[in-house]
Symmetry: C3
């Protein structure tokens, strides 16, 4: 079921306003409201004094008007009485200051007192609403984001390390603590890192943060689950490429993934938004919810411009095209006060629809028209781009070149593939790989035998693999591998090893038979180990070391193929390279479309194949179709061509 | 009486140097010295051990040479014994660190211990010098600027809030604390905000800071007043557009306002300096003192260039033209040590006059020549530009567009009016309005019934009013008004409401019959509510929403007129718009002058009208006069034209 | 003896790897290894439990292969058990936070507990290895750099001040504490300055930091010395222009100076590297060790590019040309873990030579070829550039123009002299001056009678002296001198005084008979006091004050000559000026060389004169010689010309 909705805070308004809000929601075509995720102080105004009747009435009134509810547990914003009575529930920053009330996620995720309070409010809500037929899902907390430096966290970190390493000897060896005399002789000596620190400690600290949120989340899942009726899901709203913790670990215990998609300053970027959707879909390797998105503008950027008229349509449809089963605006209407008065909304301070309301209403109509058609369909990636939080952290802590950003480098591969309208999955480097024709492992810095073996198997099974700069440098302890990049198994697979890596102060020419351009930011100089390896391109005249050395190679293995790209190619060269790779892998779009038009197929288990066409441009465009089609937003039959208005959408099936 | 002076610190020098300093002062034409405001450790070297004889001797020696004194209470710089014995008198920063000795304003304004010590030293000084005929005024403390985060301040803040809201229910409602579960159930739970916070809390915190300084100031006024002879005034030297507190509230209990005018890096800016003078004159709606100004250069900027030769003359005369009754340099001579060794002065380290001394001496001569003429005169604004600290804070905390600065936006209106040589008052949005022909309310974000009613009355009385972008959005609790901008009363008055506001990432065209240009940073899209409203200009092609929508409107009401300017016009368009507005309001300069020549009239109660002409350019300029005049600096009769040298001044009366 | 080496950490590796490492060292021509400076936790894994056998075996194995050792005391990185048991040994930052384990130099240099532990480990090492014939030198600690703000440091600071000033009256007078009521009535009141503060206090705080490190260093010297065999030296590896303390004071008790030379981002800069070598040579006024240098790239810059192939050769030879008697790379091989995984090294993670190894090997061969020739030789400066930490601090705290940087201004004089291939000594402003023909005193801000008298003597002895902008402004307490710049004695010597100084917002023309250009950032307007003074150049049209005023002057005194340069000349004008000065001082290079070729003579006590020619360019160059020569790297006889490849070196003696 495809849902359309908004975050709604009835607790901000007198109850006699609710009917008018809900009337307007119906007018906008809204089918789901997200409620309660910041309402703790309203639901439990004093300790163990619960007031949930208002929420029940809101859910009922919505339901009477055909709108279902998703409930948030309110733990991102504890009541003042709670943190005031239990000050150790507050997170502590790296200056030793307790977080202030009036914020979000200002709790310490390891506070057992906070666990108890969170469990109780979640359980009380679940007992009351878990079996409510109009409550279809639950969101735990809101946008986890805090890192705490309190002494309790430090003690928990020591326990975490003990569980991981068993002995200090093991930890000392794996962290190379002989370096700088860092050797630990007592677990208590290990600090929570402030700023830079030992790479092994830094990586484990991120794992510990992940683990802390997992435990905090588990407390609530266990409080909710027993009381939920069959089919009701639990999720959390993540923040796209945010990286304070490992999202694969956090989503394991959730039923579905969800994220909050904001453009912030500027306008939507086709590839960036697409990649973030694919990332979120990859958390659970299935469809997800867009739990929040931007109704026009936000309030938290340095320049909170409004999206263009009609642009929201493209944003929403692209989410759906990449696997969203719901699109919810944040928020329905701003409270009179509070930090987000300037945030976009559907209804303004006066209670009347804002101009954006019309964009939303139109979207509501569209979604209603195709909800049944899209039900049970999902995108199926043909290419996998591997994403790894550990590699990302490792590189971000040690960029070597300040402009080398892990996610930008991933986009560097994602973008040209996506612009060919080839469906992509962004998945964990530890996910199963066999379903793909092509796998890209951008800067997969952290490598272990299991990962390497999976990639070897993939290639031996006929797959095409791109290894890139900064692949295979470190082990799971963030220590250097004892072999040269990309590590012994992948070196053997690719037939190359990295003789040296270079942060580039200026671009270096890259030349080959069919590939010319420059490498910017980074260059790896390759040693060719194997006669089967072809050099696609070499570096030109540069710092002396790189001159005329191999930059990009390829080799065939058992029907599969392995590229090693030591260069960080300029965009034009990257386009040429990727086009070559896609052709070799026999990857082609369903049909041709002009630049700026995206084709997003969603497939059903029944073989149904729905094409969502998205015109990302503010200009009219024509798409030629290879077959006759049904357009489902207009209900019209299409032969030959589809005309798309500025920011226009078409939803097609072949007839 | 027009005064000319300098800050003088006899406590830095051996007493046998004083006669030479005072001889040089006389040579420079100095008539007043400011003394003692940093001399606490000299006046009270140990607790309750007072040594004031030296100061008495300095005052006497000055007086013998015709120089009167202004005394500062020394509380901006407590002695080390005081803060060392009473460490809780020190302000605490937002990291919990106590301020260090060796600074300025490093006390907690709410410390009762500090109040007691301040009261005592003020009283001791007043008993000794209050009736001294050579002491004509007192300055309390120096440049209030500190914000303290100590636990005592937090407790005082709670009391402040209790007094303001009576009940937590009221506070919760008016701060919309249901938002993010911020509801307070105990006053003690309310934090002092560090960084961003609830807009209501932020605003009240600024009010509390204002209130804290008021109480601190009152302690000293009450200590001084009973001991001062008739006619001796009390002031404080403010810092122009500094905004840590509400200056209208702080100046209420003072007799006159004063400020410290520094250019810092670069050179003087005609409009900026003028606006700051008008601001300060507006605090008490009467003439003020320029308590400090820059003798050549400062030491605290990142580039402390020297003003051009002669430029100081323009700076001083512009201050007088805008209502200064005194101009005092900071400082006479630098101490050998201390933080400000590189600051400009009249006498250098060697005790000899610096080159700047000659600029000062010339000014001293000028002032002496016209002191009688200007005595009892003051500028009379024909236009009021409304200034509001609450609106300013509200916008600065939530700029929405990072480049939208409240004061720059105010200048945007001030500058072109000022360049027409129309006298302007910058006054509180709560001041009486009836004396003006035109009122500009730049970004008057905070609106209540009283303010709106005063503006309605003004227009109904025949006045012309400019409402601008960001007017009338919030109430006095910094909460959104329940009606659209500019709020119900002003919407009715202007005949428009703001359908939507936009932070602009790029300029948008604005077009009308006589107005073409661009809106930058900001655009408000207007709904016209009333057939009397004319659209002066519309937005051009842009983000879709704004295209062809009203940007600037005007309507006539009972002989008055109301403009609503939703755009932030480019400078050229703004000039055209303002010229139109001034013409419609029948506002014209006393006579024409070339660009770069400012005309500052000062009027006496006796009908005397003195014109100060200021050539802001470094080039010779000619001004044609409509009447024969007397020039008072040269004492010459002028017919037809006045020639002004580079940075030249003329002081004219009609004959 | 000329040494070639690397930092080697056997404690990071299994002992069975050592032979392979040492085999590779021999292959590279390495003659010295630096060991143990971060090995405390390996040498003393638990309190008073010492394990030094491994180090003994490493020293022996190295020695068996002809490699001597330098040992570091490991106090820059205390073991975790130490700081955990004695938390007050940790430095405290200006937010009151204790430093974290896992860092470097995170101890409080004033901790007596830390002194005790440091003394013990140093003594244990010295007892074991002091008489070892293969240990030729000791390095104390590593790159002193920390400033601590703990309460113990504050108490020690009070003692330091008491020793310096005896009475608070003296301190108050010399710090001008009457200013801002800073007067101290108890030593305890004096803070450790955080951020800006009283200039006198700031200067004494730097002296105190210097003193703290001196005491900390002395503890170790005293622990080591009694156990060292004859001829074994003690040093510390400083960081070039680092300025947290006075390096002249710190090097007094050391036998030789040493420094760690890193390029960081970008490429080597001939003058900057040269000046830093000359600075270090100036610490002890004799040859020094390059204790660390960059094998290709570093890891700590924002852009860690690799040096060009061959560039390391130039870096190393330039060090030797400027007095290095040893060049050691940091480091031999990176540990698998630890913060510096990305740092350049000679051997990579796999244990195999990196590409850079070949550059190092070639250098090893070269050095071996000329080690005997260079033994006992040293550079002899003909020009002295005076360097003064106190002047530097004073200016950096009060730059007045943000772009005025003390060291850049020193380079401004160093560079053109150095480019003429005139040997320069960079020495303390308090060092003996009589050996020089020309002395430059760039921005020698702090002046006392002794310094001034030495400069007067120098000129009266026939020397040429350049006084520059910002000379002679302050006394040793960082207070303004009671006379105008450059102070009374030097004013008399130079025949000028500074009428006014100006931070320039834009360049000002400077014109003279043979000197035209601009002054940027700074201008001093000179009063000519003496008829013997010639004005070399005047300022052009500018801010009015400077127009047509003297900018650069010269006068002859008793066969000597004094220039006063009030301008900060643009680079071209500076070249012209310096060329003129050198000619007048009859300073000429040994022979002519193309731009980009540096000539570094080293002289032996036996009259031997060895010329090291360095081609700083990446292009072939030809040098014509005035005499027949022997080239010692190739062993070939050279008549007429020497051809230098890109980054080529020649080592010549006249035959």
């Amino acid at each position: 079921m495809l849902h359309f909705g908004a975050a709604y805070y009835p607790e901000h308004w007198p109850e006699d306003r609710w009917p008018e809000d809900i009337r307007l929601m119906k007018e906008a075509g809204i089918t789901v409201a997200r409620l309660a995720e910041f309402a703790w102080s309203t639901m439990e105004p004093a300790e163990e004094q619960f007031e949930l009747d208002w929420l029940d009435r809101a859910i009922s009134l919505l339901a009477e008007n055909g709108i279902v509810s998703v409930l948030g547990t309110p733990t991102a914003a504890p009541p003042a009485w709670l943190t005031h009575k239990h000050p150790y529930t507050l997170a502590v920053d790296d200056y030793g200051r307790s977080a202030q009330h009036g914020n979000r996620c200002h709790y310490c995720a390891n506070s057992t007192e906070y666990h108890a309070h969170s469990r109780r409010i979640a359980e009380v809500m679940a007992r009351r609403f878990g079996s409510n037929p109009h409550v279809i899902g639950w969101q735990i907390d809101n946008e986890y984001n805090r890192v705490c430096y309190c002494s309790r966290c430090r003690a928990r970190f020591h326990e975490f390390l003990q569980a991981r390493y068993r002995t200090l000897d093991a930890l000392n060896a794996r962290w190379s603590t002989a370096y700088w005399s860092q050797t630990y002789s007592d677990w208590e000596q290990i600090p929570l890192p402030i700023g830079g620190h030992n790479p092994g400690l830094l990586l484990d600290f991120r794992r510990f943060i992940t683990d802390s949120y997992r435990r905090f989340q588990r407390v609530q899942i266990e409080a909710l689950r027993p009381h939920l009726r069959e089919g009701v899901w639990i999720t959390h709203n993540f923040m796209g490429w945010f990286d304070a913790f490992d999202h694969y670990a956090l989503t394991e215990a959730l039923d579905i993934a969800a994220w909050d998609c904001y453009v912030g300053a500027g306008y939507h970027d086709r590839s960036k938004q697409a990649a973030a959707h694919d990332l979120t879909r990859g958390f659970k390797r299935k469809n997800f919810w867009l739990m929040e998105t931007q109704p026009g503008c936000v309030n938290w950027s340095s320049l909170n411009n409004m999206l263009n008229q009609g642009e929201a349509r493209v944003l929403a449809w692209q989410a759906i095209g990449h696997g969203a089963d719901a699109v919810l605006y944040w928020q329905w209407r701003s409270a009179y006060g509070g930090q987000e008065q300037y945030h976009g909304s559907l209804v303004d301070q006066s209670g009347r629809p804002r101009l954006f309301f019309e964009d939303a209403r139109r979207l509501g109509q569209d979604l209603a028209a195709v909800a049944d058609l899209l039900d049970g369909t999902e995108p199926l990636g043909q290419v996998a781009v591997l994403n790894d939080y550990e590699s990302r952290w490792s590189i971000q802590w040690q960029r070597h070149h300040n402009d080398f950003d892990y996610v930008s480098h991933l986009f560097h591969y994602y973008r040209p593939i996506s612009e060919h309208n080839i469906p992509i999955d962004v998945i964990s480097a530890d996910a199963p790989l066999s379903d793909y024709r092509l796998i890209v492992a951008p800067a997969l810095n952290i490598m272990d035998e299991q990962r390497a073996a999976a990639l070897v198997d993939f290639v031996n099974g006929g797959g095409h693999l791109i290894l890139t700069a900064r692949c295979g440098m470190k082990d799971r302890d963030n220590a250097l591998l004892p072999s040269r990049q990309p590590g012994s198994m992948l070196s053997e697979l690719a037939g190359v090893e990295v003789a040296e890596y270079y942060a580039l102060d200026k671009p270096v020419p890259v030349q080959g038979d069919w590939l010319q351009g420059q490498s910017r930011l980074w260059a790896e100089q390759l040693n060719i180990l194997d006669k089967t390896v072809s050099t696609i391109a070499r570096y030109g005249k540069s710092n002396g070391w790189l001159d005329d050395q191999p930059a990009v190679t390829v080799t065939n293995r058992n029907g599969g193929r392995v590229y090693y790209v030591g260069a960080y190619l300029d965009d034009n060269a990257q386009d040429v390279f990727i086009e070559h790779v896609l052709k070799a892998a026999q990857l082609a779009p369903p049909f041709d479309a002009p630049a700026g038009v995206e084709i997003c197929p969603r497939s059903g288990a029944d073989g149904r194949l729905v094409y969502i066409l998205i015109n990302h441009e503010r200009a009219h465009q024509i798409v030629s179709l290879p077959w006759a089609a049904q357009e489902h937003l207009t209900g019209q039959r299409v032969d030959g061509t589809v005309a798309l208005d500025a920011y226009g959408i078409a939803v097609l099936t072949q007839v």
